[in-house]
Each structure stands twice: as structure tokens, then as C-alpha cells.
């Protein structure tokens, strides 16, 4: 293109903004500036009239132009289905448990439902409560052991500390991508989906710096994760 990168000297600079004054995308400040200039400048008003005509002509001409055939849509959908199927077979080969990449949310949802629905949960909870009560009573009835000041200190933790994250996966993320991601951060999905389609993920968290590091690593995986945030303990 050999045209100059500036407007001709006899043309007001406001003219450069007029096309966007016409298409309605100027900022409020620019719009006010252009409006007040137009009130005082007949040549810019003429330019504006011409641009409005061009706007109408282009809209009419383009709208009257051809549109893609409906057959094309069916061809594209068929190719996408074929690709999705190939992806599904790939996942089946690499992971026999998870089956369909496109139904990740449905799979996790089904898995969680199966976990919570069974009737044996109340019985199990009652049994555990009785057992805990029994152990507590037995412990209280025993004399206290002497304190071993010189012995080594053992960890009293109930396992590695974990952080909970709220995660929204990309709708196009495949099951395989998510599985790999979970393996990378040694995480697992423990709850969800919420009404917004989010899941609760648990990751090991030795200290706040490690949580932040893992969180940043997850935030950088835009192709799989749409949004992730740490939940307060």
C-alpha cells in the first residue's frame, strides 16, 4: 500500500474518528469531542453524511451477498464429530476408566452422584461414631503414660496438608488433558459440580508458597482451566 500514513493537511483530524462515530464504538470522551466539533464544522458534517451513506451501502451490499450453504454446516459438524470420536478412542486406549473426552462433566458428575447416593452411608457413619465413642471411653479409662522428654518428636499430623481449589474447566478440555493435569499437580477432584459448573480440587500443600506456586501453574493452563482460585480453609 503506497498511501500516506497521515491525513491530507487540509482535513481536520476529527475526520479520522468519524467512521467510529458512525459505527457507535467511540469512547464517551471521543464522542463528546467529535459531537462538539461537528456543531461548528460544515466540512466535517459533509464528511459524516458521506460516511453514513457508505455505512448503509456496505451493510446493504454485504447483507445481500451470498451465505454459506447448509450442506457445508453438516460437513463441518461431521468432521468435528469424527475428530471427537478419534479423541475418544485415543482416551479409551490410554485410560480404560474414563471413556469420553467430551463428557467429562457428565462423568465426574455421575461419579460423585454414585459416591453420595448409596444407602450404606448412614449405616457406615453410625458405625464409625459408635466405634469412635468406644475408643474415647477406653482411652479415658487408661492411666496416663509418663512423658518421655528425651524421645524423638513424631509427627501428629493426619496425613499431608491439602489445599482446596475451586476450578472451572474449559468446555473444550478433553478428559485426557484434565487427567494429565491432575497427575502433574498430584491433585484430585473431590466435589462438584456446583451450579456454575465448578469443581473442588484438592492438592498437596506443604506451605502457603507451595499452594501459590501450584495455583499459578494451574492458572497458566488456559487451554484446560478457565478459572481457578484457592478456597479458604
Amino acid at each position: 500500500m503506497t498511501e500516506p500514513n497521515t491525513l491530507p493537511p487540509d482535513v481536520h483530524q476529527t475526520v479520522a474518528l468519524l467512521p467510529w462515530y458512525v459505527n457507535g464504538t467511540l469512547s464517551v470522551a471521543d464522542r463528546v469531542t467529535v459531537s462538539s466539533h461537528l456543531q461548528e464544522c460544515p466540512s466535517c458534517r459533509t464528511e459524516l453524511d458521506e460516511l453514513v451513506r457508505v455505512d448503509n451501502q456496505i451493510k446493504q451490499t454485504v447483507s445481500a451477498g451470498p451465505v454459506p450453504s447448509t450442506r457445508l454446516a453438516q460437513t463441518v459438524f461431521a468432521r468435528v464429530r469424527q475428530e471427537a470420536q478419534q479423541g475418544q478412542e485415543e482416551v479409551r486406549r490410554t485410560s480404560p476408566v474414563m471413556t469420553e473426552p467430551s463428557t467429562l462433566i457428565a462423568d465426574i458428575d455421575r461419579w460423585l452422584r454414585n459416591l453420595f447416593v448409596p444407602q450404606w452411608i448412614p449405616t457406615l457413619v453410625a458405625t464409625l461414631l459408635v466405634a469412635q465413642l468406644g475408643v474415647l471411653l477406653w482411652t479415658l479409662s487408661q492411666p496416663s503414660p509418663p512423658i518421655d522428654v528425651g524421645g524423638s518428636v513424631a509427627s501428629r499430623g493426619l496425613g499431608l496438608p491439602k489445599a482446596r481449589l475451586r476450578v472451572e474447566f474449559q468446555p473444550f478440555a478433553s478428559m485426557q488433558q484434565i487427567q494429565t493435569l491432575l497427575q502433574d499437580v498430584h491433585g484430585r477432584v473431590v466435589d462438584g459440580p456446583t451450579t456454575e459448573g465448578a469443581y473442588i480440587m484438592e492438592i498437596p500443600a506443604s506451605d502457603p508458597a507451595a499452594i501459590e506456586q501450584n495455583l499459578q501453574a494451574l492458572q497458566s493452563r488456559h487451554e484446560i482451566i478457565r478459572h481457578v482460585e484457592a478456597l479458604r480453609p
Binding site: 467512521p19 456496505i58 451470498p66 457445508l72 459438524f77
Partner: protein, 171 residues
Amino acid sequence: MPAFEELYRRYEKRVFRYICTFLHDRAAAEEALSDTMLAVWQGAGSFSQTSRISTWIFGIARHKALDAVRRNVRRRQDVKLDTAADLAHPGINPIDQIQRDQVAVLTKKAIDRLSQDHREILYLVFYEELPYEDIALLLAISVNTVKTRVFYAKQQLKQHLSSLQSGEPVT
């Protein structure tokens, strides 16, 4: 799949019309549209959400259309698109219809005479109604170049329309 189908339905005409600013061959334009939509499906995960989804899709369409232009230049296949302006519009007074058709044919001819860059930028400003920042991002040019290009594109269009109206017969 339903999400993709919805996205396809929402963008197919817009993307096709944008591609038509590069290609005058319907088959090539449809092929470029198909390639664009498949690339959208395959690359959905890489969409960074730093730009609008329409800008991202138009960016892909632009690449596919330019690829097709390069292929077509080599093949020397340049079949003109059917102009729907030639079709009758039901429910409109025949005289109005003729006048509209004449204006549409003239405008179509004038637009066809523009350079590729001018045709594209007028489409993006007036049909797609994109802000100049988005156009600069899509075309990878400065905002200043966007503004001056529209100015000269409009001047060219005005010149072509005026020469068509004064001299050349409308066929």
C-alpha cells in the same frame, strides 16, 4: 458438540462474508470457512481470552482466506460469486426494487474495484462495526494506520462510485 454447533451458527455468515472480501470464488470461500471453523474447534483450548472471541475467530479466518488467496493466485481460478443483488426481493415495489438493485449493483462494482486492504477495512468498520483498537489487533497494524486507511478507502470508494454513475454502463 452442541456448544460448537451454536458457535458455528452464530459466526458462519459473518465469517463467510469476511472471507468473501478476500475471495471471489464461492467454493474457495466455503472451503476457507470450513477450515476456519475446524481450526476454531481444534484450537479452542488455546484461546487466551485476552481478546474478544470474534476477534480471535476473524484472525483465524483471515489467515485461512489469505492462504486460499495464495493458492488461488497459483491456480488462476477466479470465478465470480453470485451476487444476491441480482435476486428479486419479495414484497418491495418493483420501481423501488430496480433502484435498489441499481444502487446495490453499482456499490458492489465499486467495492470490487477497491484494493483488498480497502475492501477489508471498510467491511470491518461498517459491517462488523469493530472498534479501531480491535481492527488494529486483527490486522496487526497501528491504530493510526487503521484510521488513515479507512479515510483513503472511503475516498477510493467515492471515486469509483462517481465514475461508475457518470460513465460506465451498468451490466
